[in-house]
């Protein structure tokens, strides 16, 4: 099944992935009356040892994407290549050996572990499933793993209920890394944990990446967590990737209005910086993925939308090396070396609003006055409280 033409240096390569869920009418003779387009044309790739953050609000399809690339949910169309093998249409039996290469860590460490199994059984299960006999036996291998993730190996025979939330997440991580997978899909792995424990788990994930060179597809809603852990970040909205860039690029020069709104909605743990920040407030809620808006899916909540956005679907276009955005009116300054002309660039770079990175804004917003005016943003609401001394 190895596809020689594919680029083998990527651990995971997803092309135009679509996952639709049927909506059925009620009653005995139910018919399909619509589709929830949870994932609608997602293309991404993850390199060895890399962490790709996948962020967005609830219902944007980030978790469905994570589960579909592991074939836990059947894709509707598209192509998923795991370490060079096309796994899109493989049978469950064919997938078994490939499960060694890809694992998952779940959000809720309480529900992800069988309460009737001991920790030793849980972490050792991957060896059983794959009929593997590690040198020195399964027990020794499991105890090594427990030690590696910061659990006491003597607790081998304890049950999950005897552990705290952070320790349970360590159990889930030990199980995921047991077979030295090439990639782990982490679905909100720290969002159920307390702040101090969250930092411990993020450090552990980083250490494991340094040691084993594992890649992560890191699904999360918390943009600050993603900034701490990801090398590249993809922003999803209603089943689509709207922006994909390196961490440095995305947080310092976001191009999509939605990325801007998301970043400005997160309150900073710094009262003076927070008070002096102007914020873009999105109106309303996420539209239904059963009946997504025409054209650009974000146009109903976008503060820069024009008529073109309601009819024409924006393509993902590359604006600078590795920085792609799907928007007719991206918020770009003139980037030196930016790729402005594309195969079909209807884009004219004349009204170039310059949105300064948050760090810059924080330092000089106090004297420079309104960011909105400087940026040419049409709709900005800011706090009207004065900057505290």
């Amino acid at each position: 099944m190895t596809d020689a033409s594919s680029n083998d240096d990527q651990v995971l390569r997803v092309t135009d992935l679509r996952t639709y869920f049927p909506v059925r009418s009620r009653g005995l003779l139910s018919k399909t009356i619509g589709q929830v387009k949870a994932v609608d044309g997602v293309t991404l790739s993850v390199a060895p040892g890399e962490t790709l953050g996948l962020v967005g609000e609830s219902g944007c399809g980030k978790s469905t994407t994570g589960r579909t690339v592991l074939r836990l949910i059947a894709p509707t169309s598209g192509r998923i290549e795991l370490d060079g093998d096309d796994i899109t249409r493989m049978s469950a039996k064919q997938l078994v050996p490939l499960r060694r290469k890809a694992q998952m860590i779940f959000q809720d460490p309480y529900n992800a572990l069988n309460p009737r199994h001991t920790v030793g059984t849980i972490i050792g299960a991957p060896f059983d499933v794959q009929s593997l006999n590690p040198a020195g036996g399964v027990r020794a291998a499991v105890q090594d793993l427990m030690e590696r993730v910061g659990l006491n190996p003597e607790h081998y025979n304890r049950y999950p209920s005897e552990f705290s939330g952070g320790q349970r997440q360590r159990i889930g991580i030990a199980r995921a890394v047991a077979l030295r997978p090439k990639i782990i899909v982490c679905d909100e792995p720290v969002s159920a944990l307390d702040v101090s424990i969250q930092a411990q788990i993020m450090n552990l994930l980083k250490d494991l990446q340094d040691d084993f060179g594992v890649s992560y597809l890191f699904v999360a809603h918390d943009l600050a967590v993603v900034r701490q852990i990801a090398h590249r970040v993809a922003v999803m909205y209603l089943g689509h990737i709207v922006e994909l860039a390196s961490r440095e690029e995305l947080y310092s020069r976001p191009l999509h209005p939605y990325t801007h709104a998301l970043l400005s909605a997160v309150p900073l743990p710094d009262p003076r910086a927070q008070a002096s920040r102007e914020q873009i407030r999105l109106r309303g809620d996420l539209p239904s993925p059963i009946n997504p808006p025409s054209g650009c899916v974000f146009h109903t909540r976008c503060f820069r939308a024009e008529e073109r956005c309601t009819v024409e679907i924006p393509e993902l276009r590359e604006f600078s090396a590795g920085h792609t955005v799907a928007c007719h009116f991206p918020m770009l300054e003139v980037i030196p070396g930016a790729v402005i002309e594309g195969p079909d660039s209807g884009l004219t770079p004349q009204p170039v609003p310059y949105i300064r990175p948050p760090s810059e804004v924080i330092s000089d917003i106090a004297e420079s006055g309104s960011l909105a005016r400087a940026a040419g943003v049409d709709y900005v609401e800011g706090p009207d409280t004065p900057v505290p001394q």
Binding site: S58, V195, Q198, M202, Y251, P269, D270, R272, Q274, P358
Partner: protein
Amino acid sequence: MTTAAQPFLSVDGLSVTFPTEDGRVQAVDGVSFSVERGKTLAIVGESGSGKSVTAQAIMGLLDRRLSVVTGHAWLAGRDIVAMSDDEVRHERGSSMAMIFQDPMSSLHPFYRIGAQLSEAVLVHQKVSKHAAREQALDMLNRVGIPDPKTRIDNYPHQLSGGMRQRVMIAMALINSPSLLIADEPTTALDVTVQAQILELIGTLQQEYDTAVVMITHDLGIVADIADNVAVMYGGRIVESGSVDEIFYHPQMPYTLGLLASVPRLDQVRAERLDPIPGNPPSPISLPPGCVFQPRCAYFDRVAGHACQTVRPELLDIGRGHRVRCHLDSGQRDQVASDVLAALAGGGV
């Protein structure tokens, strides 16, 4: 009865114990704080710190047969802890109200939201059903529900999470209470909706001159809306003061540890965060000395074994700033400047 300068809510030595199979659990131990009208106090803490139990004790939501509440909670000069259940019920919804993390469990799934809002009015005000419905409609409009005339006849499940949270805020504020306690009101919401809800709470707070107690684990929310902050750990307040004091002059090793643990949106921290080691204590088996000692990196700087054996007092260090720590002021300043310097230097 009260003027703006006097605290509207003044909690004094509040303690809550629950009898359990493992013995009496001291969930809250000697908590004291006060909030003025129009001001916001944020109570920050991790799970098991006692922050939610404190709120429930003030609201009279703890079953008196299952818990023992001692101390005082003065609401406009009257002690809620000493009130009978009926008296507390009368205050709840009229002079004080609470909003919760999960709006779905606070709204009745079988009743239209209009009926639930009107009931809140009818219980506390002598008005006609029609007038109550008018008030409900006005309140839905005020909390930013689009098309309130249609929405008033919706059931909770027909609304999105953000809209339900708005309905719950409408219900909490419909009798214009002077005290609003919000227990993690935006934790279940997306950031863009969270921003809308926090802004709404702020606007309504100004309009009604409400005293707000915001219970949260999110230091970003604290920085955004709080005037004063109380940091709770192991059932106690371990540090309190103005928002500027807590963020820019933190003194307690736990507060410093929290600030060092938070990933930042506006800066790239060092590749590794500097978390607090270990886990929060269980209220069933608290350490005998300082409750934070087992996770503290600095207890060996204190002479003798005070941190392991003696509970530290909440010490007033001036500027309204209180700290519960055995380190002396010179040591605390040293620890604080070391941690803050490491944080500032960690960024790239």
